[in-house]
Each structure stands twice: as structure tokens, then as C-alpha cells.
Subunit: 358 residues, 4 copies
């Protein structure tokens, strides 16, 4: 039985590189040899710390860029040796939730087909992508060929943070000329800023506490940047909009402060598009919510997956609309992944995203 | 100067019938002689109690059914003597907020055109409808002729609770065959139930603590009724849906309990449509919110107004689609309005809505 | 090799009952024993006449009601012996077109995943349902369990005409109180009328040339019926709406006359929702199209399929919202299907739909 | 009675500069002194030729940039001397059509409030903008202040062609990464190309017969340009998309050829967004329409107006998102307007748009 290297969750605080068998390929699967897998995602750090529980022995990671090694007997229209990505969210597309428009909440054949975050399988409910090989389930629905001429580095944001960040802009339902505020400029927030620009927002206000990130936000499309360590962000945005408020705000961190600020800066009728992963109950202040009478919306999104989503994102990259390469600040070999986790978990050295290569 | 009777807010705890001058008619106004004005709305009780502040001396009430007495010089296409209603929300339709799709948040020419609940003028920022006459501002946009053959009783829910309740069903974005839960079956909730039926929901679950209200809910379209005094509503709804949850829930009361329950019964991907007027901060429980990753929406709506909205609602009544007459449980003369307030504020005698006639 | 009876297209003008092998079951398939299959659809008559070409030897029919006989090895969450339906349109849900929101245009792994009407497979590209058994492909996505207590007759409209007719109302984007005209009251048009009622239309105008059909239209929700043999329909509708026109019109026949009339009665801003299968080029009259400046929409829909769509429709039937049993005017045994085709193709004896039982 | 110069339609073939009285200002009006009025629009040429009938004596033109000279007594929130634009379409915003979401089809108080193109008043039903002064009706709804620092040349596309072209992209319902084809690259088509870019299209294919226009299309966002004199456009687009077709096509000319090509290149499920003003009946080819079963949409749009629309467009200009100055190829004084008409009507000298200054 041939073996491969894989980054495995052992116990809280410990992820190790281990040898595991290269998986068998069922009729609807594809085996992909990983050439680059970006990561480490914030979620992976939660897993490492034991804050988000996964089964011991699971391979971690959910952002695959690679080459088809072997196709299942029912998978058609691809060829072995083809370069592909797959979404971090990897739904079956056959369940009730998927047909209902919520593939990211795919419950498979159980629970009437719905399960919160159920479409997220890599590194969560099945072995992930921080390995030499990954088995892609429901491959017919999830393998997305990479257009010729694009490098691994150019496409490795597509599976997760580009899809997520853009989804935040899409769910904000922006119109041409809208004013939007994006709270937090980590990798997801930066992609939300780029997404807001792509949707035609007229004024994009980016907020963070790190000036280097605000600088990248400007390059990706922000018109105004605010450092929350220097100004009262809510006050400043209301001033910038003459008291009107923004058409939409995007929350990209997952804290009460950013959520609440995102609500306070909204015009009556405005939309709060939330991307953050929260870790405690949230409070909606009565005033910011206009007692429930402000015609406002709070919308949450989980990263969209599937090969059609990936195809569109790859097209955006191929057309040169957005350049997310500045987000890849570090490169590591898979053999050194423990060190990469250490860097990322402690957010040292201005790290945004780390590319891991087997 | 001719006088009229009007129910006037004097001070917290005191509304009185007083003589006031019949107002002058400006070029964009219409003077309407009130034939019936439904009320008393829950909001009026808040005003009476001093919980929602209005200027002393203001005439209260916001649901007019009457006859055009006099038209302003710029108002065209109507005739004096014509029977009309106007929405409780009475926007200018010319401000930025109105053109932006949020007429209920009309800020006029101030505040960049947005003001939370600014479209609500009758009995809030201008004299209201619990009087012999009311001056309708921006009459060209707000006067809606009543089709022949409809009685005052049949149309007096259109200006406020029918428009509001239906808006709750509309904002829930229901599809044919959806499962929806409506929390609280007061007048607004009952209209939301009727609205959900009109939009094609396949299963409507109505919740309240009063069996008489649940009985009316059944007549207006509920398939299942749950008395929260008898069962654990959240548990029961999850059981009814096999653990899947509902496609949408409508909150029609304005409390933490109903808001939170409405969230807990949602499927991933589901929408909480909120109609209630809240009186304190709200808490979003982390689990019910799937940590922000459930593709859920929370949407709030204020009663839509304007003559086009009224025209559609009147058409629904004229076609016999919905019969809301059972909601009018009591009739009072304007002279006895203080007694009517007393009845309604204490929710005696199974009161749902009171019709007041000058 | 066990055999079954099947209605097979032999050559233009000839459909025969033949013995064919009961099909083998692949890993993603299900074999369903047919208990009732409604039909004959107008499309089947086109096939019979050779107007729509299919391969000689193909089993015809696309509306299955039956019992699971055997499940493929990958199909989970069902059991053999379970009563199910499947949509007339039976998509893979994994192709680009499916993930893009157009499963009825499913091109599988070819043509970049899009093929006009490609989701229609039964009796078109694979063996159909007018047989003792049918093989359902991509069964995980397409088998919809029938709720207890519903008869075959109550659910046999779900796979095709109910889904199609309702889609016409859904694509018309109706709002509560809208005025809608439905052109032609054959089975599809009658379902569109029922669908318009379900979506909250305030005034439904049904048009046909057969008074018996108009009578059924009234029972399904029409407020006004017009016989085009007796009145000038366009003129009458404009009169009924005071010259304004309707908010939406639904075309349910597939001729230039109905298409053009449906356009002529629209208000500026109105939507023409087209369901008909046309057999020649269409002309858009310049005036009815306001020279392209009327903010109008022409929208076409093919029957939506998939188990989630079927689940919603079955819920509507189970809740008693709509009773389509009056549409089944005749019953035949599969052995007599040639006679049933003869009756239906000549539209004798007031036939609307024929139920065929093996 | 003070006089002003105005370009007046006299009879087919003749537009003259005449002296007319400066108009009186009613309570809801504003008098604007024109500083620049772009023109001449293709519609104006239709008027000149007598193809589109207007009343003899009418002042022509509908794209105002100017300074408030005098405000009506009811118009609030503006000041005399303020620099403003108003939309070419100048609706009341109070009629049924306006409240229904179709202000461009504003019928005022007549015809139930709808009239095809009724929102277009300047140079159509009231005196237009090719004059020293123009009276803006319903000024509260239509005056849009110009942000400081923007020149007349930078904003003079907002009232008409920018609003129209962007509307074509908006009605196409583009998503991030979509493929779109824009047929014809005159001023409207160029703005549609810019609008498609603003909405996030991943691949924009611009089609025209003039290479200079295709060159400008590239600068405004086109990825691929096709000269219909050199290639078979339909064949080429199908080849470029691997036979899939485009997600949306935008028609910006108003001929059978462009309309039909725009339909033939669509994927099943795709949208044809039509902006052109047609001058004869249109034919929908059966095959390109998939016999009515392709889940396709044909959508028409008239230029959106109103101060909120103008505010958003001005914000786009102020943020530097789009630079439409290259479209202004010629400048004329109002005194020379007859010569400007001559140039534009004959499309000499590579003219795109002519700026006219009093």
C-alpha cells in the first residue's frame, strides 16, 4: 500500500506530518496530487488549538491546487494529468439543501439534506489537502480545470478566501455607485474589498488596525482607509457620508465590535453582510437596529464551492481583473508545515497567507 | 375658523378629545373627512404611555378611511367627494430614500433624504387621523381611491396592519411549497399568516398563547397552530420538520423570546423576517446563528405606504382573497375614544382591532 | 433476462407496446416500478407525429409515479419498496449548467455542461416512463418520496404540468395584488392559473376558446374568464384594466397569436412569462414592444425538476392548497395506450389528461 | 418678458435657434441656467428627421448641466447658484408607475399612471435643454448637486448615455466572472461595456464595425473586440466560449441583426438585455429561442432618471471608476447648433458625442 505525507491533527496543540496510505478511488471520486495548497486558514488554527473539534488522525487543510492522478469510473469529461482546483467547500450538489440553493449547507442524505456548514468536508469531515494527495468526493461536481497560463500562486486563493470575500460583496447586494464599508482587512476582508470593487461600489471604505493591510486594501480597490487605532470608525464613516450612512457594510472578522460597528454605520434600508466566524453570542443594539423598523438586513455567507463557482473565479483571475498574489506573503514546504503553523498562528512577520508545497 | 374634534396627546397617560382648527390646504395637500379610522394601534398605546415621545398637542392615529373634502392646487386626477384611503406611512416619494427603494425611511430634504421611520408622519410628526379631518401631505402620491362596493370595515386594515403583515411574508421571500412559522398572532401576526398563505407557503405554523387567536389564524390560512403555553415551540417545530427547520420564520411581536425562537427554528439558509417593534437590545445566540456560517438572513420591514401599495391591497380585498373583518372586534364613536384606548391598552374583552367612527 | 412492456416509438405515426428487457441498475441509478404514469403529454404527440425526432426504439413518457424496485450502490437515504415520483426533467445537478441555476438545460459533461432542454431525459434521450419499469438516472438527486396518504392520482401532475405551470407564475415575478392574464387553459395553462393564485395575484384573467376549460379555470382561481371566440381579448383586457394593462401575462400554448396578445396587454414594465412550445419564428410587434423602451421582460421557462422541487409541490398537494384531480379526465391501462394516444392526439371527449396504469 | 435662445423643432428637417421667453417657475419647479448640455442624441436626430413626432415649436434636448437660477416655493434643500444636473428622464415619482418601480414609464395622473416612455419629458412633452435655460419639473425629485471638483465635461454623460448604458449592464443581471457580449459600440454601447466592467464581468466581448470605437471599448473594459466587417460574429463568439455561449448579451443599436445575433450567442439560461430603439417589428428565430424552452430572458430598459440615480452616477465619476471624457469628441457653441446637428446626423469626423455650450 503506497504511502503519502499528510499534516494530521493529533490532539489539541499538535499537528504532525505523518505517513498515511494514498486513498482508494471510488466511482464518483478523483485522486488529486497536490502541487500547492495554500493555507493555513484561520479555521485550521482553531482546529490546532482544539477550539473547533475534528477527529484525531484527520488530515487538515481545504484549499487544493493539483493534478488529477486518477478518476473514478463514473467521472466524465476530465483526463488524468489535468491541472485542477476544487473549492474548499465541496458539496454533493444532489441533496435537498444543494438543490434549494444552499450547497454550502449540504447535509447529504441525512437530516433532510441540510447540515450547518455541511458542504465543508476537506479537513473537517474527510481528509484534507495538506498532504501529497487528496481524494475529491463527488468529483464530477467539484473539479475545476485551471486555464492555461495561470500559475499555482495565481489561483490558490480561489478555493476559499477569494470565494468567501467575493460572496460577502455579492450578499451585500451592491449597486453601481454604492458606498460600502469593509470591517477588517485580513485575507477575507481584503478579498471582500476587491469584490466590492468588482461589483461597482462607488466608494469603498476599508477599516483595520494595521497600516500595511490598509495599504494593500488601497491597491485592491479601497477609496478610503481608516485605522481604528487612530479614529472613531463609526463617527468617521457617518461624517464621511454626511450622516446618511453606508449602503452596505461587510463584516470580515467575527467579533462583537466589528459586527456592531457594521450595524451602526448603515443607512436605514442598508445591508450588513457578515463573513466572520463568531465565537460568542452577538448583541444587536436597539438603536442601531432602529427598534426593528429600519428596513435593514443582516446576511451571513459561507464560502461558495463547486466547479461552476471556481470556473468564474478562475475567469476573473485569467482576465487580470484582480491580482491577489500580494496576499501570499510566505512559502513553506510541506515538510516544514509545523513551522508554518507556528508563524501563522502567532501572526508574525506580517503574514497574510502561506503557500505550502509538497 | 371652523373647528373639528381630534384625539390629542396631552401628556404621558393622557389623550383627550379637543377642538382644533380644520387645517388649511397647501398646493400638494388634500383634506380628507374621516369616515372610519381604525385604531388603536399598539404604537398609539406606546404614545399614550409616554414610551414613544411625540409633541404635546399632536393629533394621534394613522389609519385613515374617508372622503376628499378639498384638493390642493397641484393635485390632479382626483375629485372632491371621492372615497379614499391613505397609508399609515405617507412618504413624499421624492427624497433620496424614496427613490432608493426605502420610502418608509423618508427623510425628506434633510439628512441626505433618510430618516429611520421618517415616512411615518400621521400621528408622529404631523397631525394624525383620530379626528374629523386629516390633512394628507404629498397627496398626489398617497391618496388611493376605494373601489366601489367595499365598506369602510373591509378596507380599514389596508393602511397599516395588512400592509405590515403582508410585508413580513414578502420579505421572507417565500416560494411555493415553503414551510413558514409565524410567531405571535396579534393583528400584525394574523396578517402575516394571511400573507404567507397568499404567497404560496405550503405549510404555515402559527404560534401564540391565546387559543382564540390561533383559531382565527386557522381561518386565515395556518395549517398548524401551536400554543406556547402548552408546548415547547422550538422543539415542536423541529419535530414537525423532521429536524430540518423552516424555510422562513416571521416575528410579529418584538421580544427576545420570539426573536430567538424564530432564529432557532430556521433551516441553514433560512430567513427570519422581523416585524416586531423591539424595546431593548437583542441577543443572537451563537448556536442558532451557526457562528455566522449558516447562510441565514435577518430582515426587518416597516409598513409600506403610498397609493400603489394601497391599490394592490384594495385589489386583494375586492377580489375576496382575504377577509380581515374578523379582526375588527369592537366599534367606538370618536367621542368615546378615551374609553376605547382604555379597552385596547388593557387588552380586555378579546380585543383585536377597534374601529373608531366620527 | 426478464422482460417488461413498454410504449415504444417505432416510426412517425406509430407507437407500439413492445417487450423490452428490464434495465440493469448502475451505481447512481434506481429502478422504479411504475404504478401510474400520467400522460400523454403534448410533447409525446409531437414525437408520435415525427415533429420532434427521437431514436426509433425509445420508450416514451416522462411522468413517473411508482415504487423503488432496486437502488444503485451509491444511492443513500432511500429504501426499496418506497413510493416515489421523479420530475419529468431529471438533471444530474453536477454539471456547470446545474450549478449555474439552470438544471433543466443540463448538458452533462459535454458542451461545457449546457444543452438546450438537456435536463429532459425520460422519453427523449433515455427510455421513458410509459412502461412497467423505468430506470431513474442520478437517483440521489431525483427520487422524491410521496407523503403518506396521497393517492397516485393526486400526485401525478407534480412531475410535469404542475411544475411547469407554477414555473410560469413564478417567472412572472408576481406580487400580492397583481393583475395577470393567462393565455390558454389547457393542462399547463390551468396549472399556471392555479400557480398565479398561489403567488397572491389579485386579479387573474384566464383566456381560452373552450368554455369547459374556462369553468375549470374559475375553480382553480381565475377571477375573470374570456372566450377568445366571443370577444376581442386584447381590447377586453385593456378595458378591464382601464387602459393600464396587466402586470404580467403568461403564455401557455405556443402560437404567434397568444404570444403577441400576451405582449399587447402588458403595462409598460410588465413581464411576459412564456411556457409554450413554439413551432415557428415569432414576431414582436414594434408597438407592443414600445420600440424596445417599455422596461418590459420576456421570460421563458422549462419545467423545473429534481427532488427538492418535487418535495415542495408534494407539500402543496398534501396541504390541500390546490386540487388538480379534475385535470385527469380519462384512465387507460398501459395495454391500451395506443387507443389513449388516439384519443389525446385528436383531443376528443373533452380530454385534459389521461392516467395510464400498467 | 426676458428672452433666451433655444433650439426649436420647426418642421421635419428643420431645427432652428429661436428666441423664447424664459419660463415662469411654479411651486414644484426649478429654473436652471444651462452651462453645458451634451447632445445631440440619436433621438434628437430622429426628431429632426420627423421620424419621432414632437410638437412644432418645442425646444429640443434632454441632457442638462447647469446652475440653479430660481427655485419653486415648495422645493427645499437646494440653493440658488448651486451646480446641478438632472436626468434625461425626469419623472414625477408620485404616479402609480413610479411607485411600482417604473419611473421611466411615468404616466402622471392619467392612464392609471403609466405611459410608455412617459418619464421622458425634456424635448419630448415639455421644452428641452438645448437652450440658455430649462425649467425642471418636480425639481425636488430631479435636481442632483454636482460634487465639487468635477467639470461639466466629466458629468455630462450622467443624465442619459451613462445611465442608459449602465442600465443595460444592470438589467443583464451580471455576476462576477460572467461572459458578456455587447453589440454596437456607439456612445450607449460603450457605456454598456464600461457598465459590464463595473459589475464584475470576467470576459467582455465588444462588437462594432468601426475599429476606432473598438479601440475605445478596450480602454473602457472590453477584453475581446470583434469587427463584424471582418468576422462572423456569432460563430466567433461561440468559438470563443467553446460552444457554451455567453451568460448575457447587450444590444445597443436597435436593429434586427444585432438583436438576433445577441440571441444566437446566448447560453441556455442567458439574458438578452436590450437598449436599442427599434424602428420595425422584430423576429425571434425559433432555433435561437430554443422553441421557448431555453430558460432565456429578453429584457428592455429605458434610461433611469431621478436625483438618486444621478447621485450614484456622479459618485462613480468622482471616484474615478470610469472616464467617459473620450466620448466627447466635439464642442460647439449653442449659436452653432444647426452645424452640430449636421455633423452628428451624418456621423462625420468620427463623432461620438458633441458638447454644446450656450
Amino acid at each position: 500500500m503506497p504511502l503519502m505525507k499528510a499534516a494530521v491533527f493529533v490532539e489539541p496543540g499538535r499537528i504532525e506530518l505523518q505517513d498515511k496510505p494514498i486513498p482508494d478511488v471510488g466511482p464518483n471520486d478523483a485522486l488529486v496530487r497536490i502541487t500547492t495548497t495554500t493555507t493555513i486558514c484561520g479555521t485550521d488554527v482553531h482546529i490546532l488549538k482544539g477550539e473547533y473539534p475534528v477527529a484525531p488522525g484527520l488530515t487538515i487543510g481545504h484549499e487544493p491546487v493539483g493534478i488529477i492522478e486518477k478518476l473514478g469510473s463514473n467521472v466524465q469529461g476530465y483526463r488524468e494529468g489535468q491541472r485542477v482546483i476544487a473549492g474548499a467547500i465541496c458539496p454533493s450538489f444532489t441533496s435537498y439543501a444543494c438543490q434549494d440553493g444552499y450547497p454550502s449547507q449540504d447535509g447529504g442524505c441525512a437530516c433532510h439534506g441540510y447540515k450547518p456548514m455541511g458542504g465543508w468536508r476537506f479537513g473537517n469531515s474527510i481528509d484534507g489537502t495538506q498532504a501529497e494527495y487528496v481524494l475529491v468526493p463527488d468529483a464530477q461536481a467539484n473539479l475545476a480545470p485551471v486555464p492555461d497560463g495561470l500559475s499555482d500562486e495565481e489561483v490558490l486563493m480561489c478555493p476559499d478566501i477569494m470565494s468567501t470575500g467575493f460572496a460577502g460583496a455579492e450578499a451585500a447586494n451592491l449597486r453601481i455607485g454604492d458606498i460600502v464599508a469593509v470591517f477588517a482587512q485580513g485575507p477575507i476582508g481584503l478579498c471582500a474589498t476587491a469584490g466590492a470593487r468588482l461589483r461597482g461600489a462607488g466608494t469603498i471604505i476599508a477599516i483595520d488596525g494595521v497600516n500595511e493591510r490598509l495599504e494593500i486594501a488601497r491597491r485592491l480597490g479601497a477609496d478610503v482607509t481608516l485605522n481604528f487605532r487612530e479614529v472613531d470608525v463609526v463617527e468617521e464613516i457617518l461624517k464621511l457620508t454626511g450622516g446618511r450612512g453606508v449602503d452596505a457594510s461587510i463584516e470580515a472578522l467575527g467579533t462583537q465590535t466589528t459586527f456592531e460597528s457594521a450595524l451602526r454605520v448603515l443607512k436605514p434600508g442598508g445591508t450588513l453582510s457578515s463573513l466572520g466566524v463568531y465565537s460568542s453570542d452577538l448583541t444587536i443594539p436597539l438603536g442601531a437596529f432602529h427598534a426593528g423598523l429600519g428596513d435593514n438586513r443582516i446576511v451571513t455567507s459561507l464560502c461558495p464551492g463547486g466547479k461552476e463557482r471556481m470556473r468564474r473565479l478562475l475567469n476573473v483571475v485569467a482576465s487580470g481583473r484582480v491580482d491577489l498574489k500580494p496576499l501570499v506573503t510566505h512559502q513553506y514546504r510541506l515538510d516544514d508545515i509545523v513551522a508554518a503553523y507556528d508563524l501563522f498562528a502567532h501572526q508574525r512577520d506580517g503574514v497574510l497567507k502561506v503557500a505550502i508545497k509538497p
